[in-house]
Amino acid sequence: MTQYTYGTALREGFRHLLANHKDVFAIGQGLWSPWYVGSSMKDLDKEFGKDRVIDTPVSEAATTGLAAGSGLCNYRPIVIHPRMDFMVLAADPMVNQAAKWSHMLGGQAHPAVTIRGIINRGGQQGAQHSQALHSWYAHIPGLKVVMPATVADARDLLIASTLCDDPVLFIDDRWLYDQTDELPDSKDVSLHDIKPQVLREGSEITLVGAGHATLLNLKAAEMLKQGGLDAEVIDLRVINPLEYDTVVESVKKTGRLLVTDGSWETCGLAGEIIAGATERVPLNHFKCNPVRMSLPHAPAPTSGPLEEVYYYNEEDIVQRVHDMMNGRVKAKGPSSFEMTL
């Protein structure tokens, strides 16, 4: 067993892939710099050469497009976007190209490309340096979307995504990097085997999230435990295609569902999980209305006090759980702009 942080576990995933799979290469902005991707790719260029760990011009669209092209020609590139906001410039190669080629060419061409988009927020960085756009991309058939929350998944989902023949968007979050854990030696992992997992068992309420939301849910569950409340925490891991069985089984047991999401509410992941669960769980199992927690319907602010209000924390989740347990959750009004701060 070896001690890792989330960040060094990511690096171990890259190391495993580059050492064991000749068809893997990494490409993106900042890969030869210590600034962009922190501990997650440190010195990989020195270990595996600058031909396989490629730093690029400031060209998100072409870099992602050429990785999709290489992925059609027997390679398994990983494109790195150190901030997901800039990845928006690469929407065409992801949404129109990589996601579509298999279907529109009759299942004969599969771009085996992994796109790593990093959520990097807080620190008063503001609207264009803070976005979590996973729900956008999870909308697209053909593009798999994974969000590792744990140290083990940081490594293993990167390996699974890269070895998958389909295009995969792999989203990690800088707010997860300081977690630590002990992991066994790395090995090849298949994305087929990755399903939502119960990270903490409980009987009174189900907390569902992905990525950083899962970390908040775990912290909240620990606080709830102190108060004698038993919360089950489910980490989604893969948000496209979505698999509902784990959530459904849990909600049947607990009768209460709270979904937390690190992004906006409208057409978002939290709403999707609640919709999927209510379609599958008989209504008489629900002890109260399902609830979602997401960001206010506004871009991220820069001013410190506003930013503090903008991002909810584990204490806010605990409060919302208590509201649900005590029947204090009221029906919402008609406007989606109505926000709770």
Binding site: F25, D51, I54, T56, P57, S59, A61, A62, T63, T64, G65, L66, A67, A68, G69, S70, G71, L72, C73, N74, Y75, P77, D92, P93, N96, Q97, K100, W101, S102, H103, M104, L105, G106, G107, Q108, A109, H110, A112, P141, G142, K144, C164, D165, D166, L191, H192, D193, I194, K195, V238, P241, E243
Partner: protein, 358 residues
Amino acid sequence: MFTETLELGKLADPAEFREKLNIAGEDPTLLKEELRMMTLIRKAEEKIGDMINEGQIQCPCHLTIGQEAIAAGVARHLRKTDRAFGTHRSHGHYLAPGNSVHGLFAEILGKATGCSKGMGGSMHLYGGESGFVGSVPIVAGTVSMAVGGGLAAKMDNKQENGKNSWDVGVTYFGDGAAEEGSVHESLNFASVFKIPVLFVCENNLFSSHLHINYRQSNDLVSRFAMAHNVNYRVVDGNDVVAVAKATKELLDVARAGEGPGFLEVVTYRWRGHVGPREDIDVGLKRGEELQHWKLRDPIKRLFEALEAEGHMSEKDFAALNEDVATEVNKAWEQAEKDPYPETSQLLTAVYATPKGGH
């Protein structure tokens, strides 16, 4: 020779380049094969045009009639292990490396026997075995992907007699695509990393209805290759010999690992942006120009050269045309009879992995 002014000059003048091709030193057998291929592309597309008019084809088709020499000339120097990417107007790019006309027709009809199993239609063609990786209609969408095909080939590092003999990426695109940002990103990347890729810019002077003079400051698209230090050639795209010669010069450099090439081939499409109409009432200039451009016919000029050198007679050419027409008609009849895909294919082709599961 056209570089000083950054303009196409007489290459864009339909009164020029009407004479028979110069085929001195060329292999007549090869030229006859290319004449047949160009005729096949034209007759296949004429058939498609007729079938649209008859209401047999519903899916949008962008015809390349008038531009056949480009696909044929470039394909002369491509390997099956190269990686060519096409556009919305790629019937010719698909057929030239030897893909079947039946596969094209069946695809356009949405049949299971189509080259993309009936999932693509005219704008999404697959010919992987021939080196034609695929075509898609997002303008400039495949330019960077072909650079990726070239990067993969660079990593493959194919050698012959101790020297680089790299496979190449090829991207076909139009003058309109050159107005998209990712083309410039792609040229820059390919240049900096010495990617073996051939950028084939089919400059037919029009993007949809709009003439290049209304879209760009100069009509010579190669000025963008100059800006990125990419080797370039500008030739008459209706001259298969000139296209093939320039292709070879650029590919020799790319295969040796010395950098990408940019081939600007000046041409004109005889039909409208989409569908079988000539669209002479659409856009500016086209009405007066088209009749002149038809005199710069790439097929006629090649035949006249072969005839003048004694390699082919009028009778031979008539027989070739009849033979191709028979092939085209047979392919169409078969495609019409073929079955549609199973409805289950709607979901099974989304992911490489079965059922979209994990």
